[in-house]
Symmetry: C2
C-alpha cells in the first residue's frame, strides 16, 4: 500500500491529513501555525509532524508518495510562493524547502484553488473534472477546476471572484474600495448589510427587528419561519448570487457549480434560490449546469492538496 499527505496551511492552524491512494482519509490532525519571525517555523513544524507520524505508524518512507500543500496566497506551478502576508512569508520555493526538510516530493497550490480541487474530486462535484467552487463566508471566494486541474492564473488570482462587479450603480464602497462587488451582497456580512438596509428603509413588521446583533443566520432562520421581510431580503441575495454565478460560468462553462462557505449552510433553500436566478441570467448553451453544496467542510483543502501530489505521482 502507498500513502500520501494533504496539508492545508491556515493563518492559525495547519491541517494535516493522511490518505491512501484511493483518496480515503485515514487520519487527520492539526498543529498551530507559528507566524512569528517571518513564519520560519511553519515548514519545519509541518515536516516534524509528518515525519513523526510516519515513524510512529511504522510506515516506510518509500511508501509515501509525497506531500500536497495548500497555501493561503499565490503559488506558481513550479512551487514559488509569492508573498503570503498572513504567514509573513516572502518569496521562496516551497517545493524545494519542504522537500529538503522531509525527503519527500512536494506539490503546492493556492488554498482556494486546492479546496476547489478537493470538492471537485471527493466533495460536492463528486468526480466532475470541470467545476466552479464559490465560497460564501465572511467574504466571497472561489476556485476554478478545468479538466481536473485547478486554474491558478498568471498572478495567482484566478478564482478571485468575490470582487466581480454585480451592481454598477452601488453607492456604498466594498472593503476593497470598489463599488458593487458580489461580496457586498452574498457574503455573511453582505447579507446582514442588505437586511439592515431593508429594515431601515421599510416599515414592514419582521422578527429581524428584535435581533441584536443581527446575523446572517438569523436572516435565514427568519425566512425559514416565513418572515416576509426576511424572505424578500433573501430573494435579493439569491438574485445577486445567480447573476454572479452566471457571469463566472459563461467564462468556463463548467459541469457543476459547488456552493461552499458558512452562508451555504443554509442548504437546499439557498441552492434552489441561487439556481432559480442563475437560470434567469445564464446564456442558454450552459443552462444545464448543475448546482451542488460543498460537502467536505474544513477538509476540502486537505483533500485537494493530496490530490495535487497524487496527480503528480500518477503522471510520473
Amino acid at each position: 500500500m502507498k500513502y500520501g499527505f494533504g496539508v492545508d496551511i491556515g493563518g492559525t492552524t495547519v491541517k494535516i491529513a493522511f490518505f491512501d491512494l484511493d483518496g480515503k482519509l485515514l487520519s487527520k490532525w492539526e498543529i498551530p501555525t507559528v507566524i512569528e519571525n517571518g513564519g520560519c517555523r511553519i515548514l519545519p513544524d509541518i515536516a516534524a509532524s509528518i515525519l513523526q507520524y510516519i515513524r510512529e505508524n511504522n510506515c516506510k518512507q518509500e511508501d509515501v508518495i509525497g506531500i500536497g500543500v495548500g497555501v493561503p496566497g499565490p503559488v506558481d506551478d513550479g512551487g514559488t510562493v509569492n508573498c503570503c502576508h498572513n504567514l509573513n512569508w516572502g518569496v521562496f520555493n516551497i517545493h524545494a524547502a519542504l522537500g529538503e526538510l522531509t525527503g519527500l516530493p512536494v506539490k503546492a497550490g493556492n488554498d482556494a484553488n486546492v479546496a476547489a480541487l478537493g470538492e471537485a474530486w471527493k466533495g460536492g462535484a463528486n468526480g466532475c473534472e470541470n467545476m466552479v467552487l464559490a465560497t460564501f463566508g465572511t467574504g466571497v471566494g472561489g476556485g476554478i477546476v478545468i479538466n481536473g486541474q485547478p486554474v491558478n492564473g498568471v498572478h495567482g488570482a484566478a478564482g478571485e471572484i468575490g470582487h466581480l462587479t454585480v451592481n454598477r450603480y452601488e453607492q456604498e464602497p466594498c472593503t476593497c474600495g470598489k463599488y458593487g462587488c458580489v461580496e457586498q451582497y452574498c457574503s455573511a456580512t453582505g447579507v446582514v448589510r442588505l437586511a439592515k438596509k431593508h429594515l431601515a428603509l421599510r416599515d414592514r413588521e419582521s422578527v429581524l427587528r428584535e435581533q441584536t446583533p443581527l446575523t446572517c443566520k438569523a436572516v435565514f432562520d427568519a425566512a425559514n419561519q416565513k418572515d416576509a421581510l426576511a424572505m424578500e431580503i433573501l430573494e435579493q441575495v439569491y438574485d445577486y448570487m445567480g447573476q454572479f454565478l452566471a457571469s463566472v460560468c459563461c467564462v468556463t462553462d463548467p459541469e457543476v457549480v459547488v456552493l461552499g462557505g458558512g452562508v451555504s449552510r443554509a442548504g437546499q433553500p439557498l441552492l434552489d434560490g441561487a439556481k432559480r436566478y442563475f437560470d434567469k441570467y445564464i446564456f442558454h448553451a450552459s443552462s444545464t449546469i448543475r448546482f451542488a453544496l460543498a460537502s467536505l467542510g474544513n477538509d476540502a483543502g486537505a483533500y485537494g492538496a493530496f490530490k495535487l501530489i497524487l496527480t503528480q505521482y500518477q503522471n510520473g
Copy 2:
C-alpha cells in the same frame, strides 16, 4: 520540412491555409461553404481542395502532419460536433470523417476558441499562453486560452461571454431575451443603440444628428473629431467594456486581454478607454493584465486551427 493545414469553416466560405511547423503561413485560399443537403459537401470539398494542393505543390503526404479545423459550433475534445446550425450539421465525429477523406490526422475545435488560440500564438498576445480574446463585432464573443490550450467548456460554451450581464437594471431586452448583456452596449449594434438613446434624450449639438443611418464607425469618427456627445457615448461604451473584461479576468486571471472584431478597428483610443475602466473594476491582484489589439484579422482562425494539430503532433 514538414507542413500542415489550418481550416476555418464559416457559414459562407471555408478559409484554408498552409503552414510550416514554425507557424509561418505559406499560402492561403478560400472555397465556398455549400450548406445544402445537411452540409454533406463541406468536408469532401475541403478534402479535395487540400489533396489537390498537396498534389500540385509536390508535397509528400508523409510530410503533412495533419489538418486543424475551426468549426462554428460546439466540438468536444474527441472531435464530436454537436449540431452546427449554420452549416446544417447534426452530430458526428469530424476527426473520423475528415481523417477518412484525407488520410491525415485531424484536430478540431470551436471557431471562437480556435481564433483565440491563433491570437494567443501568433497574434495580439504574441506567444502568451494565458489570454482572453474578446471580439466586439455585430455581437460580442470570445475565447479563453489557459496554459496554451483553448478552454472548450463542458457544453462547448466556454468563452460565450457576449451575454454576461453588466447592467442588471437594463429595461430593453437583448436579442437573447435577457436584459443588460454586454452585447447591448459594446457590440457595433450596441454602440449605435447607445448613441441613439443619447441623441433622443439630450439636446446637445452633435455631428451624429446628421448621420443617417447612424453607424458604429460614425460614432468613433465623430469622437476622433472631438464631438463632445460622441465622446460621452464612447466613455459609456468603455465603462461597460472595462467592467465586462474585469469580470472575465477575475475568473481566469490571464496575462493579456486581446480585443478583436470590427469595433476594435477603432484602435488605440478603444484600447486606452477600455483599459482605463478595466483598472477601475479589476481586483488589485490582476491589475497588471495587459491589453492588446488582435492582429491576425480573418486569419486568426486558420492560425489557431493549425496550432491545434501542431500541438497534437508535438505531444505525439
